[in-house]
């Protein structure tokens, strides 16, 4: 079940929220838990068992660490076992196929028989819930949070349906207090509704309308330069509106149940460096990578060379987290390399002045990175790069033109207008009179509600489209 589906929006959500608000506060975690399990089981019932097992495992590990005592060798053993168990689960379900396929390619090239392994299904959302589970056991080990006393609160946190499938990657310590106490007001619910509708419009109205432009370009076996540039421009916008739209919906749904999740995006395409980009893009993941990977590796504490190594390693693993494919490793290497170069050149991650040349350069680097992120294979990615820089004319190929509709192009232009306007507003700190700003915010629903309704009609008119981040 996805947020941008009729069955979620008009059956599951009202039923769950109705039940939630009719239940006394101390039992609401049960409603969240059972509702979230139903939400997950809609995809597959059998993989819900794995999900429950992971939850139980981490709950017990958390208790074990706590009983062992902070900083003790036994606690270290507990956390080691816990993290290893989580990584083994992720490794098996997400990377076993990739590992065997890569090994088989090597074996075949050396003339040996390939290994035979049944195809393993990737459980939806596993990358997110395993990372959340790891953050929990590590935080308990570090003493950043108490282990949860009520299993239902922990299980509800891991299963919390708004962020279950595609993030944001939440940390228990950020939400623990909210399980104990949170407010429920009509004002907060309204804030959540506005946020949800914004996300829904971003996803269904913008991202899905742009999708054919990206899909069409990447489906070509021999794209022209114009095809490739239009395709990557489209994919760049599609990915942002798809994923940030999902995050907006998740944050909105959280607010409807009284939770306040951390922000996951902050106008990433206005960044003036890759360092800044990673402070604005998928913030919950980059924070996780920083706190649970980069810093444990040594961060920037052990000299220049190890800092570069740690940056590269963190981004390589961050890339691999997105998917079991060499393309994601290459994408991670690209970003890790750029971060290292920026560190070497002393490029600021929070430049105050807005310099167009830096912004253009950064945006170009981000787009070039998305090529490997989107391509199905390294060969396809390099074919696409070749097309981008072969400069064989301004014409779009006929096979691509066939897929292009006026609406797709119009929405692409609209998407970039929104990106530019919101980005510049953030970058240039445009200040409005407080009274005017208040009126504008208050008037937002007047525009948003009709557009939301139009988007609901669009969803009903077209076939369902899954979120891009469902594959990660």
């Amino acid at each position: 079940m996805v947020f941008s589906s009729n069955i979620f929006l008009f059956l599951f959500l009202p039923a769950l929220l109705g039940l939630y608000y009719l239940t006394p506060f101390r039992h609401r975690s049960w409603v969240i838990l059972l509702g979230s399990y139903s939400f997950y089981a809609w995809w597959r019932v059998d993989f819900l068992l794995l999900f429950v097992a992971v939850t139980l495992w981490n709950y017990l590990i958390g208790l074990g660490i706590h009983r062992a005592g902070l900083g003790t060798a036994r606690a270290r053993k507990w956390v080691g076992i816990g993290v290893a168990g989580n990584l083994a689960t992720l490794g098996y379900f997400k990377y076993a196929n990739f590992g065997v396929d890569s090994l088989n390619e090597l074996f075949l090239s050396l003339g040996y028989q390939p290994l035979d392994l049944a195809h393993i299904i990737l459980p939806i959302g596993i990358s997110f819930y395993i990372f959340q589970a790891i953050s929990y056991v590590v935080d308990v080990y570090r003493g950043d949070t108490e282990p949860t006393r009520r299993f239902v609160d922990f299980a509800a946190f891991i299963a919390l349906f708004p962020q279950l499938i595609a993030g944001p990657v939440l940390r228990y310590k950020d939400l623990a207090d909210q399980f104990t106490y949170r407010t429920h007001t009509l004002d907060k619910f309204g804030e959540g509704a506005v946020r949800f509708m914004q996300g829904f419009v971003k996803k269904v109205f913008i991202a899905d309308s742009i999708a054919p432009l990206a899909d069409g370009a990447f489906a070509l076996t021999d794209p022209s330069t114009a095809d490739a540039w239009l395709g990557i421009l489209a994919y760049t916008a599609q990915l942002y509106f798809d994923f940030s739209g999902y995050s907006d919906m998740a944050i909105g749904l959280g607010l409807m149940m009284g939770f306040r999740f951390p922000e996951n995006f902050n106008q990433p395409y206005i960044s003036q460096s890759i360092t800044e980009f990673w402070r604005r893009w998928h913030i919950s993941l980059s924070s996780w990578l920083r706190d649970y990977l980069y810093i444990p590796l040594g961060g920037n504490r052990n000299g220049t060379v190890s800092t570069y190594r740690n940056l590269l390693l963190t981004m390589l693993l961050g890339g691999l987290w997105h998917g079991a494919n060499w393309t994601f490793l290459l994408w991670g290497a690209w970003h890790g390399g750029l971060l290292a170069v920026e560190r070497a050149l002393g490029v600021s991650g929070s430049a105050r002045q807005f310099r167009v040349s830096r912004w253009v350069m950064t945006f170009l680097f981000i787009m070039l990175g998305w090529v490997t992120f989107r391509a199905a294979s390294i060969d396809e990615a390099f074919g696409f790069y070749q097309a981008l820089f072969s400069f064989d004319g301004l014409g779009l190929s006929a096979a691509y033109m066939q897929d292009i509709r006026g609406l797709n192009l119009a929405i692409l232009v609209l998407a970039y207008a929104v990106v530019l306007m919101m980005g510049l507003r953030d970058r240039l700190q445009w200040s409005f009179d407080t009274a005017i700003l208040g009126r504008l915010r208050a008037a937002l629903p007047v525009v948003l509600v009709p557009v939301f309704l139009l988007t609901v009609l669009k969803l009903s008119a077209e076939s369902f489209s899954p979120f891009l981040y469902f594959q990660f």
């Binding site: 059956l11 809609w42 059998d46 190929s397 915010r441 948003l448 009903s460």
Partner: protein, 387 residues
């Protein structure tokens, strides 16, 4: 002010979700769990859930409204329909298969030309001659209605290329484009405005010219020994197949192109005086087989009837709708009917655009593959001489 706005928004959001949610429950009324059991849907691996969701979406209360509204936006703002249709001028619609190749690679044309030759060679090897009737694209005959739309170069050259490529082959492939163009110039509408297909009048013009070419080429066969009469039926509005790509009705019935007007035709043999019941029920021995697409299979155009009338001879029509020209042909070649009673002549109706479309049918592809294998093994009677 902001708080008030949020509270109002919350109420509006709740009203929308609850209102539509309540209305949508009706779409689940007729969902039958037993039906899903009959379909063998597994509740554990998500099959059942997807089936329920699909059923729910199909019956969603605003689905039609959404479809109509977005079709109206696309048509009025961008002059576009759903993928598959190209909107020309003066309410003329075209299938985009006539403007673009069906695949990225132009090699699809060469591959299909090889397939046409393979069919012709197969029939020749069985001693059956072929008349190939290439139907020119509507976009070729009505190029003035295309407006800004432009067929790609491969499509522009397709018709002539098809005929030229057939020249060395032992096949009769008359050029019937001039006849249709002349008829159009004289005021006959040869293709429907909102449909992929020809008008009954266009089909008749095509049949007359084709019959002349066939009779000339196959003079040894008996022609004109049966008389057929075509009767005009009712004239009614015809909503062409291309209108399905502009789903404006029922909300905006007058926004899109007006339907065509079509006068139905039907053709039947003229009974000779003294026809007996015995002769009426005599076994049909037409010996001429028409294989083709919806241009021949759909009785609305009466193309087989017109062809019978102009040939003066009955024929067996084994055409099929929605399958392209290759699939009906390979199905016929695999049939007992063909194996046990090879005809005197096969007439193959072939719309030119299909030459640029990939063949999808597994069975059809298998037939060509098997034939290629036979050729490679040297088992085919039509194998080229090694001398």
């Amino acid at each position: 002010m902001l708080t008030t706005s949020r509270k109002i928004t919350a109420c509006v959001f709740i009203a929308i979700v609850l209102g539509l949610g309540a209305l949508s429950l009706r779409s689940l009324d007729d969902y039958s769990p037993k039906g899903s059991q009959d379909k063998g849907l597994d509740p554990v691996n998500g099959e059942l859930a997807r089936d329920v969701e699909s059923h729910y979406d199909d019956g969603f209360p605003v689905r039609e409204l959404g479809t109509n509204l977005w079709a109206a936006i696309n048509y009025t703002v961008f002059e576009e329909g759903r993928p598959g249709v190209a909107v020309g001028e003066q309410e003329w619609l075209f299938t985009d298969e006539e403007l673009y190749l069906g695949t990225e690679s132009p090699a699809v044309i060469d591959r299909n030309l090889e397939r046409v030759r393979a069919v012709v060679n197969h029939l020749q090897a069985e001693g059956v001659p072929v008349a190939l009737l290439v139907v020119p694209a509507k976009a070729r005959l009505y190029s003035d209605k295309l407006g800004d739309l432009q067929p790609v170069p491969e499509m522009r050259a397709l018709y002539q290329r098809f005929l030229t490529q057939m020249q060395p082959a032992p096949v009769v492939a008359p050029d019937l484009l001039p006849t249709l163009a002349d008829a159009r110039a004289q005021g006959t509408q040869v293709f429907l405005r909102t449909d992929t297909h020809w008008t009954p009048a266009g089909a008749d013009v095509f049949a007359r010219s084709a019959a002349t070419a066939i009779q000339t080429a196959f003079g040894g066969q008996s022609w004109d020994d049966t008389r057929f009469k075509t009767s005009l039926g009712e004239t009614h509005k015809h909503e062409g197949d291309l209108l399905t790509y502009l789903p404006l009705e029922p909300l905006f019935p007058n926004m899109g192109p007006a339907p065509d007007t079509l006068t139905e035709r039907s053709t039947a043999p003229v009974k000779k005086a003294g026809t007996t019941a015995e002769s009426l029920f005599a076994e049909n021995s037409a010996d001429v087989v028409l294989v083709g697409t919806s241009y021949s299979a759909n009785p609305l155009w009466d193309f087989p009837g017109a062809l019978k009338r102009h040939l003066g001879r009955d024929l067996i029509n084994v055409s099929d709708e929605g399958q392209g020209p290759f699939q009906p042909m390979t199905e016929y070649l695999r049939s007992d009917e063909f194996r046990n009673h090879p005809p005197e002549l096969v007439i193959w109706e072939f719309p030119e655009r299909y030459l640029a479309q990939p063949v999808q049918s597994e069975a059809t592809l298998a037939w060509f593959e098997r034939r290629d294998n036979l050729l490679a093994q040297g088992d085919s009677p039509s194998r080229p001489s090694m001398q």
